[in-house]
């Protein structure tokens, strides 16, 4: 009886299933390429995927209320490019200030998107598609039509990504802090739970006196904030700002969330899931070149793995459901 309930708990939880997939993935990659499972390699992996990892938290919030945001990488480009140009032309030199400006730009972008979605009732996919074009174009305009801000122009700022605090790279600290804060926020605060409530049943939330529109607005502002942060991280990690940064990268963030079990129709999804989802994607990206798959085949295999992971998830869920039914006394 005891044993049964443990198995039931594991098969009943999406996160546990995902964790198993992550473990299997890690094991397979390590067997083929042992150097994968070293602290340095893993830290590198986190650092190189910092942008996706941080932004999948925002996407989690957005998807929890049943929305989607495909404008995020344009917001990232706009905010990243803006601080890149500010640093390049010496308007600012402080790293902190650069981060603050990037996040402020992100928040402003998110606010506009959120207002259009929550106040003018534009479906999220459409609104963010529009802003995907708009913010990206603004990024180009900020860059004077295509200037880059490269390592030499970024001064102190780029050192953020190469220096450590307490032995851990600062970028990884940012990821950690974001995940811890969000874990707390989503689970223990009223606002966090309201995001779930609105996603689960918006009209009920309305009736229980939750301001649904403001929650909708909030998630896009959070998303924008993280996209701004992502912009600063991107510029810092790769020590260069280009207007076409992360073109098409929003799909990775969405995929990370969906793989992590975040429902696209809202209401379901956790911070842990988003974490595992983005780890799976990061592992795929890191492992494909490592295990010696020809470059030509890498994209296709990445697609197949994503598909297989989501399908396995469904199949396991079905089996779990079926077992739960079998256990029912008649």
């Amino acid at each position: 009886m005891e044993k049964k309930s443990v198995i039931k708990k594991i098969t009943g939880s999406r996160e546990a299933l995902l964790a198993i997939i992550v473990v299997v993935l890690f094991a397979v990659v390590t067997v083929i390429s042992p150097s994968f499972l070293t602290p340095k390699s893993l830290m590198e992996m986190l650092k190189n995927n910092a942008v996706t990892m941080v932004m999948s938290l925002g996407m989690l919030c957005v998807m929890l209320v049943g929305g989607i945001d495909i404008s995020i990488m344009s917001t990232l480009a706009l905010s990243g490019m803006s601080i890149g140009m500010l640093l390049k032309y010496g308007h600012i030199t402080s790293t902190l200030l650069a981060f603050i400006i990037a996040m402020a730009i992100g928040i402003a972008c998110g606010l506009v998107v959120g207002l259009v979605i929550s106040r003018a009732n534009v479906p999220p996919i459409i609104a963010t598609m529009g802003f995907m074009y708009i913010y990206r174009a603004m990024g180009y305009l900020v860059s004077h039509g295509g200037e880059w801000a490269s390592a030499a122009a970024l001064g102190e700022f780029k050192n953020f990504a190469t220096t450590s605090f307490l032995g851990i790279n600062k970028v990884i600290w940012v990821i950690l802090v974001c995940y811890v804060v969000f874990f707390f926020f989503m689970k223990w605060t009223r606002t966090g739970r309201r995001i779930y409530a609105v996603g689960s049943n918006a009209s009920a939330a309305q009736v229980s006196g939750i301001n649904v529109k403001n929650i909708n607005l909030l998630v896009y502002v959070i998303m924008g904030f993280l996209a701004g942060l992502g912009g600063a991280l991107q510029v810092s990690v790769y020590a260069s700002a280009m207007p076409d940064m992360q073109y098409g990268g929003e799909m990775d963030v969405i995929a990370a969330c969906v793989i992590g079990g975040v429902s696209m129709s809202g209401g379901r999804g956790t911070v842990v899931g988003a974490f595992l989802g983005s780890i799976i994607l990061a592992t795929i990206a890191k492992a494909l070149p490592l295990v010696g798959i020809s470059s030509l085949w890498q994209n296709m295999i990445k697609g197949v793995i994503i598909l297989v992971v989501v399908v396995i998830n469904v199949v396991l869920q079905r089996i779990a459901d079926k077992n739960a039914l079998k256990g029912r006394e008649m």
Partner: protein, 542 residues
Amino acid sequence: MSNILQGKEEYFTLIQKYSHYQPVGRMIEYNQIKGKGGERAVSEYVLELKGITKIFPGVKALNNVQFQLKPGEVHALMGENGAGKSTFIKVITGVHKAEEGEMFLNGQKVDFKGPKDAQEAGIAAVYQHPTSYPHLTVAENIFMGHEIIKHHMIQWKEMNQEANKYLGELDADFDATAEMGTLSVAQQQMVEIAKALSTNAKIIILDEPTAALTRNESEKLYTLVDKLKENGVSIIFISHRFEDMYRLASRVTVFRDSQYIGTYDVNGITNADLIKAMVGREINDLFPKPEVKLGDEMLRIEHLSRTGFFKDVSFNVRAGEIVGLTGLVGAGRTEVMEAVSGITHPDEGKVFLEGKEVYIKTPSEAMEKGIILLPEDRQKQGLVMSWGLGRNVTLPIISKYAKCGFNDEKSERELSKKLLEEVDTKAVDIFQPASSLSGGNQQKVVVAKALAQEMKVVIMDEPTKGVDVGAKAEIYAIMGDLAKKGYAIILISSEMPEILGMSDRIVVMCNGRKTGELNRGEATQEGILELSMEKSTGKGTK
């Protein structure tokens, strides 16, 4: 301006007309207060509404209605489907804003901007259509909007404990940490009630809480309401079931066609009077069960099983016969019939249609073969809510009325008009969105679907759930007509009078198994209850 004055006048005439229903003693008090200073500081009513008018685009849902609620009373609100009861509730709780009228809480004029205001003022409501969060836990559902918070953190442990306390009071068989979406309708209803309790409200409004409950569960609810009453909570109770009203309420207010008809003492009124007040006409025979000569066997199921839902169920139904399928909620009645009509698939067992074994994979196949299921959840399963009525009715049969794959809109319109009139739907035109109809009228539209095509077997799952007495009678009449035409009918229902009144034969299920079969003559309430409770002790552990 003139409108309001006019409303007031009407209100006073109405007051005069029905003043004899007000207990005399209280009446004096009222006059005394009025005489004292004109301004009423204290009222005998905890809640009073006057001259409420609510207009939806194209519909006057409430027309100058009034209502008074005394402290500690259970006040039933009754009326036909679409009479405006639910709308009235939503006006009270601030979900809807009335165009006209005023509301007094303990004699103080109040004006709620939204549901939150009402909540803070001590009014809690369980709405007709559940407003739960399927992805969240029971505890969260209960405390949504007033979470227990310390140091800006939600206190999960405390919240779960509190929630379990309320659930305990309700005798619930599930835990506060369960996910709402995994609960049955009845269990969800309980959570809704626990939610109302948790706000420590002085006024609790229950909009058709018993519609989804069986007798047993209703009993539990009755006890609870009694307890609340003792604690001085005033309760507004909406129901289409007379038994609820007789059991609980001391007074009853009737609405009809968006208007206030009257308030009556439950003790001093007869069934017939009440029905007349509600429907505006007399209903002589609620269960017009026609005597039909039974024909050949139409449908037979043998040893049907589906893992986790039902096991080894066999019964048959003949042409012209009405078989009632009853049991407690969760007995698996819906699942059996869904498996028969292709919505799900049985793991084992056989289905015979007119003696020939059939394998039905989809609902459309079932309909081609002559089996139609009218689902129990009309909002989610029965209707495309934003569509017009006409299109809803013809959806299952569009291909039959199509020419080379294209819709024949004209004959489609005529057909749907005819069918909707046949079931006596209260609607402006066939283009009116289904969502704008009241529950009972929505149900009639669902029933009209079964008439749209030649069928052999019609399965009706809770066809009168939340339907007013007048509409019920009409639906029963339609059922009788169908039987006369030689349809085989399976009626899934939790309402004992309906099962007893309409069925030729009654199949009882309990916990996924068939526990008995009774003929019309031999069936009694007690007999059915006994069968449906048989092994039910093991159920409900999740």
